[in-house]
Subunit: 358 residues, 2 copies
Amino acid sequence: MGYTVAVVGATGAVGTRMIRMLESSSLPIDRVRFLSSKRSAGKMLSYKGRPVEVELTTEDSFAGVDLALFSAGGSTSAKFAPYAVREGAVVVDNTSYFRQHPDVPLVVPEVNAHTLKDHHGIIACPNCSTIQMMVALEPVRRKWGLERIIVSTYQAVSGAGQSAINETERELKEVLNDGADPRSVQANILPAGGDKKHYPIAFNALAQIDVFTDNDYTYEEMKMTKETKKIMEEPDLAVSATCVRIPVLYSHSESVYIETKEKAAIADVKAAIAAFPGAVLEDDVSNQLYPQAINAVGSCDTFVGRIRKDLDAENGIHMWVVSDNLLKGAAWNSVQIAEELHRQNLVRPTEELKFKLQ
Amino acid sequence: MGYTVAVVGATGAVGTRMIRMLESSSLPIDRVRFLSSKRSAGKMLSYKGRPVEVELTTEDSFAGVDLALFSAGGSTSAKFAPYAVREGAVVVDNTSYFRQHPDVPLVVPEVNAHTLKDHHGIIACPNCSTIQMMVALEPVRRKWGLERIIVSTYQAVSGAGQSAINETERELKEVLNDGADPRSVQANILPAGGDKKHYPIAFNALAQIDVFTDNDYTYEEMKMTKETKKIMEEPDLAVSATCVRIPVLYSHSESVYIETKEKAAIADVKAAIAAFPGAVLEDDVSNQLYPQAINAVGSCDTFVGRIRKDLDAENGIHMWVVSDNLLKGAAWNSVQIAEELHRQNLVRPTEELKFKLQ
């Protein structure tokens, strides 16, 4: 009496981790289906030690599927998620395509699992950089309120997929082993696969993630702004982001500045974060303890440290937030949503088909 | 009738670049003296194509020296700079040791060259991360005033010296070529040579530069706060920093948020920065033009881009500031101070010995 769970984009950096997360999940799973594009269809993946062949994603792929986890890019979700819903599946979508749709809950389970009950077949998993910031800030918002957020990110290349990881490693080897000038190595993907120019990331910091919007912020930056307001249900919360890619493979780090509505003592902020599910306080500068990207890899938690008062603003607080962008930032948050849907008995066909087929 | 110029710490990452900057300087130089610790004394360096032997730094090294550029660590400056002054030299010190001394001008020539005339034998060169921020923000401060600064840095390992560069390259090779786990590579220097624990920088981001002060900020962060106020002569300017080391060898990048006193149009801010000496505007997101660390290497300029309004604060502006930390951040700013001292006819023995010998 378990579920049939489909993973769309099963061979990608996030998809492979979704499979690992499903293997160790408490979800009752009878069957898994691994779907991909033509390029990867036919490959063999493993699930709980047994081989599973990757199938081509088609409009007919979702018959009998109860839960479909999508992580194959926005256009794939746009094209196939409505078919999954039509077949009675509940979709957990890890792309940005449906995130701002009014009928789509945008969920970080620790923060707003209560919004799942309003789903119409599709639930969106927020952007990686947003999720970890929500885990760190929600305990602060609940106790003292939030007036504003200014965040500068230090994002890993794996957020741009396995090909960006490969590109980064190749570029670094060309510089380190072959003596190439970092300016002359060939870049094909970063900073944004869909943009015109590509720049090396080896020994560089690229202040562009995703393409630019018409207000001179990138889509990545605007995702942090819009998704934060939707998840926290705080339309008036001030949020501005600067999103930067650095030569790190896994785990995003964030320098986060907030102003609270009520004045908060730092010791109390630390205690609130430490008590919040999914958050781990790593903050003891006398012992040089603070979150580090390499230490967060493989963990589903969000690590928070360097919590300290702004030197001038009465209610200003700075902190350093680190999490594995492929796990809590994507695969784990998606599977966690699926678990929460199951717990709330919400894995069921929706009555109305709110999402039109193209 | 030219100067005798000594470089203390001549074999270091900054010292070698000071020598290159002196070679192309307009200063009238008759003779150079390259000084170092015991470890490097006797080595041969080149100056304008001729070999120069590196000498051990002693209390007697400065006889006949007109200008002494120090970049061998705070303790070396503390010990030997007063002897240089006693011998009639003017010291340009690239360490933090004298920066907050009331008799020591702290100088970014484009910003406050007028303070040089008050020197008493020692002029301090600010911290690398401060200097480039000053070049970017001084044109804004002059036209609209500054209320506050929040900065998150993306700093290159070369700021911690040649040994940190070597450590970073070794760690990256161990991970990339030998398949080492980034968590298990041996670290001996970063995040701070003088601190107890050392962490890998390969594929990591370390939210610690220098050791921690008693307010939970690091010394590096407090340098940005204190030096900004002194250089800009704005004791009430609000400045809070988060200083982070990333796996980049050369050039610091900074995500800078400011609030101006008067409201400023973004186009006017861009024009003011573009017109400021030492600053280069690289800001055209429609063509993906923004400053990049790898492009700044070898340049004496500070590159500024991603200039945009905060999404909420009326007078809030974000920008991205990049410069070669070893050049404008250290070697070039020091030589530039020396050039400015010459231009203002200030290379001369001081009447009073304000700096006591130990």
